[in-house]
């Protein structure tokens, strides 16, 4: 037998959607995490309620790599429809746990097989007819626990943690896992090198959080009070988490009244319209959407930009165009969101690259929106939003809300009513507003998406229009310097990488194999730091998950002409989260990058 491989393997469970396999996968994940072993789960699921194939990848590395791996060490083949294809993904020397009934004649000979009669075991050992289908998945958890040496105590923890809200479900699930665990002990001897052993040093102080949970918590901590949404994958779970958290933390126990309103709107047009109406009236308001939903929000986004109404739009990129692959990830809406709507519209876009940033940026987006009186987009994606990520616990905010330039009744009295809604008093492009309900005769003004002068009066005047657009550009320039700056990690290498969002995980891992400097962009409009970073490198690769190199284009536009030719582009766009190999291979092929 070869050298043992400890805590460094990727498990792929190939199952049937809607069969309850996700629960089994999460139990396994939590059991392994409980051993102190870093985990990085990726759920690849179809746009379907039940019946289509689904895959769950659980990557385990001692370093805590978070990116997807394109190499499978252990395949759990539970879906007869895909099993021949699934078999091809296993690396030579890998392991295949499969339903005994699947035919293995003429199958690969360079992998180890463990054939388990899952169907028979489920029929004979699981008493409950109603739960048999779900619990059958738990049997493979037991087999994997036996195969990899996961202590029973860790398995118990995983089950208890997964059924935190349903403790009654714990024994029946443990029983099912025991069936698989015992089957392993009774029938197999270890033929493969893979082992899991408890470890310390990486996961301490860390938690497992989905980006959507993080963003929902961020929005609550940012003080959101009006949320309007329309269900669409992968953004729906954000609002559903928000509803659950609000039921827990935002209900007055004495009166039952809610300190938040969450409206399921009739479509995305209405959802963003409601959020903008609420932002106009002074509430911290948001919507959340994905894919086609953002196209429907284009007109209203332009209104909020031009009429200068604060609103937060948390947006999840998925694969397009059109309906595309609704449950697969992408970074292909950066350019579209940045200038969403007709006319000279340009937005503030925050680009979280970790779940901690999903929390922070969702929270701080409300400050940016109020401060700059404009839509603020938090551009997440399916990978970041719907997968569990290992993260340090989030920080409690120390700053109070920044509600921006709002004139109160007292302010208006002090000014003797002398103010103008769109007059740039401070020279930063950001003007003062009043809220409806302000009890002063000079408070009211007319908000409109048509041409307006400093006093908010209707005008089609050429000068007034151009003056206003110039001021909006000035406001954007002010905001540019207030948004999260790029993060840079460099050590004087000749080659640099630029990335944003969930691509971060793959870049971190790639940099262990190749020596390159790294800048992670965290907001649009781009910081001046980007050009400075390019100037310090001979070549700079922009890595992103779209076909046309959208960030690559934006970076080139931001550079002085002599730096443009230094730019290179690496693009990954098949709907699967980018693996490190997709960065390492092209870099090694095209550049003399020191290993």
């Amino acid at each position: 037998m070869t050298e043992p491989i400890v805590n460094d393997l990727t498990i792929q469970a190939a199952t049937v959607n809607g069969s309850g396999s996700q629960t089994a996968n999460l139990v396994l994940t939590r059991a392994i995490f409980h051993m102190g072993i870093p985990v990085a789960p990726k759920n690849v699921f179809p746009s379907n309620i039940e019946g289509l194939p689904t895959w769950y990848q659980l990557r385990i590395t001692p370093e805590g790599h978070m990116a997807r791996s394109d190499k499978v060490d252990i395949l759990i083949a539970f879906n007869v429809a895909t099993w021949r294809e699934d078999l091809k993904t296993v690396r030579p020397g890998g392991v295949v746990i499969h339903e005994e009934a699947f035919a293995t004649a003429d199958a690969r000979t360079d992998v180890s097989y463990y054939a388990v009669p899952f169907a028979k075991l489920a029929k004979s050992k699981i008493q409950s007819d109603t739960l048999r289908k779900q619990l059958a998945n738990m049997i493979y958890v037991g087999v994997v626990a036996g195969l990899l040496g996961i202590p029973w105590e860790a398995v118990e923890h995983g089950v208890k943690r997964q059924f935190l809200a349903k403790p009654k479900a714990v024994p029946v699930n443990l029983d099912a896992i025991k069936v698989g665990y015992d089957y392993w002990q009774d029938n197999f001897s270890k033929q493969d090198p893979y082992r899991l052993e408890p470890m310390t040093g990486v996961v301490e102080g860390k938690v497992l959080v989905e980006g959507n949970q993080a963003a929902a918590l961020g929005a609550l901590m940012g003080g959101v009070t009006v949320v309007a949404w329309y269900p669409i994958t992968p953004s729906s779970s954000l609002c559903e988490y928000l509803i659950a958290y609000a039921d827990r933390f935002r209900v007055d126990p004495k009166t039952g009244e809610k300190m938040i309103s969450v409206v399921q709107a009739e479509d995305e047009l209405a959802a963003v319209g409601m959020a903008i109406g609420a932002g106009w009236a002074g509430a911290r308001a948001m919507t959340s959407t994905s894919g086609p939903g953002i196209s429907l929000m284009a007109e209203f986004s332009g209104l909020a930009y031009y009429a200068e109404v604060p609103v937060v739009i948390i947006y999840f990129q998925r694969i397009g165009p059109s309906t595309g692959l609704p449950t697969r990830t992408s970074q292909a809406d950066l350019g579209f969101v940045y200038t969403l709507s007709h006319g000279d519209t340009k937005h503030l876009v925050l680009l979280p690259g970790t779940v901690a940033e999903c929390y922070e940026f969702a929270r701080d987006a409300f400050d940016h929106a109020d401060r700059f009186q404009t839509p603020v987009f938090v551009l997440s994606d399916l990978d970041l939003g719907m997968n569990l990520w290992m993260t340090p616990e989030f920080q409690y905010p120390e700053k109070n809300f920044d509600r921006g330039k709002v004139l109160s009744k007292d302010d208006l009295e002090r000014l003797a009513g002398e103010w103008a809604r769109y007059r740039d008093v401070d020279g930063d492009g950001v003007t003062y507003r009043t809220l409806p309900g302000t009890d002063h005769p000079a408070a009211g003004y007319f908000t409109r998406g048509s041409g307006h002068d400093e006093m908010a009066r209707y005008t089609e005047g050429a000068d007034a229009y151009a003056r206003n657009m110039d001021r909006l550009a000035r406001k954007l320039e002010t905001a540019r310097h207030a948004l999260p700056p790029p993060l840079v990690d460099e050590s004087g290498q000749k080659v640099g990488l630029i990335a944003f969002g969930s691509t971060h995980a793959a870049v971190v891992e790639a940099r262990e194999a190749i020596s390159v400097d790294y800048m992670r962009v965290r907001a649009l409009p781009l910081s001046d730091d980007v050009a400075a970073f390019v100037a310090r490198h001979e070549q700079v690769y922009v890595v992103e998950q779209n076909r046309d190199g959208q960030l690559y284009d934006l970076v080139r536009l931001a550079l002085p002409p002599d730096l443009v030719e230094r730019m290179r582009s690496i693009r990954h766009y098949n709907g699967q989260p980018i693996p490190a190999a997709a960065i390492i291979e092209p870099l090694q092929a095209r550049e003399a990058v020191p290993a």
Binding site: G223, F249, T255, E266, G273, P436, G437, G449
Partner: protein, 340 residues
């Protein structure tokens, strides 16, 4: 010289707005004047009024009354969404929406219907002229079957009747009127504002430039000749005493949520404004007989409005601060630990 003021100490002029830019003789200008009268007489405090609109000739009119109030002229057909959000942010505001027939019955039909379905507390006035004035006279979805465009084209499609749609959806206040009938429009506007819930008021408002010719069923002369009021409407606000000096059996009295009363004096056949099926029948019969039935068609004073259903506090959500909105440090720490 003393100026007459209303109950909040404001003269009538305080309810005026910028000069209209609509055509001379436009029905919408009459409605603006009715609005000014109604708001002045009700003593609405301008700072609590939120004037909302979509896009079109009608949607320009909020600029022409109560200049000191906040207004929001949004995007075409989406006024209900903006109104919903603003109301949720601050329940103290009086939401007054002005829309048109294109804004309501075509591009905005979905939002119009969903606003009604939620019973959002707002007044929704449709300045209904059956034509797209601002884009020079195309037919709209409220144009009657067989009615003619100015250049002679005949409408071949069934009309969408906003009142019938509203009734079908269980709207809690449905009325129709005519811009030239101030005696009826003014008390209906007041009642719509006093009503807690969605109040739809479809006001036929002739377009003098594109739809005031023979062959149109939205012209001044057609409406004058065919209007059939189901009852004389008067409105007694909560701050005035009710004087009933009608003969018994000749009036119906509807008490609204804020203590105001709508007093309906019978004209001809008795219509019960709390009977939704009767309201639908009255509209259908009027249409079959070639009449435009006007007046208060239906009112339900019991239905909870949206914010009440959603358990939103009376205190504006916009005024809540960190103390009430953020999790406490202990709750936050506990919550984070649950992800371990």
């Amino acid at each position: 010289m003393s100026t007459t003021v209303n109950r909040v100490g404001l003269p009538r002029d305080a309810y005026k707005g910028a000069a209209t830019t609509l055509c001379a003789g436009c029905g919408h200008n009459s409605i603006t004047n009715h609005m000014i009268k109604a708001l002045y007489e009700l003593g609405v405090e301008p700072h609590l009024l939120a004037k909302m609109s979509g896009i079109g000739c009608s949607s320009k009119t909020p600029a022409y009354f109560v200049e000191s109030a906040h207004g929001f002229n949004g995007v075409h057909g989406r006024m209900p969404a903006l109104t919903t959000g603003a109301h949720l942010a601050n329940r103290q505001l009086i939401m007054l929406g002005v829309s048109g027939d294109g804004d309501t019955a075509s591009i905005g039909l979905g939002q119009f219907m969903h606003m009604i379905r939620r019973n959002l507390d707002c007044t929704y006035i449709i300045e209904d002229n059956g034509t797209y004035g601002l884009t020079k006279g195309q037919l709209s979805a409220t144009a009657d079957l067989g009615s003619m465009q100015k250049k002679g084209a005949v409408n071949t499609f069934q009309p969408i009747d906003p009142c019938a749609v509203a009734l079908a959806l269980g709207c809690s206040f449905v009325a129709r009127s005519f811009s030239g009938d101030g005696k009826q429009v003014v008390p209906l506007i007041k009642a719509a504002i006093a009503h807690r819930g969605t109040a739809v008021l479809d006001i036929i408002s002739p377009c003098v430039t594109f739809n005031d010719h023979d062959g149109s069923t939205k012209s001044y002369s057609w409406v004058k000749d065919h209007e059939e009021s189901i009852a004389d409407v008067s409105f007694i606000p909560f701050f005035e005493e009710v004087h009933v000096d009608y003969e018994p059996g000749t009036v119906r009295d509807v008490r609204l949520h804020d203590g105001s009363h709508i007093v309906l004096k019978k004209l001809g056949e008795d219509h019960d404004p709390t009977d939704r099926r009767a309201a639908i029948r009255v509209i259908e019969e009027g249409r079959a007989e070639g009449h435009l039935v006007t007046g208060l068609l239906y009112v339900d004073t019991e239905m909870d409005d949206f914010a009440t259903t959603e358990r939103i506090p009376d205190r504006p959500l916009k005024d809540l601060g960190e103390d009430e909105l953020r999790l406490s440090r202990d709750d936050f720490a506990q919550f984070m630990s649950e992800f371990a």
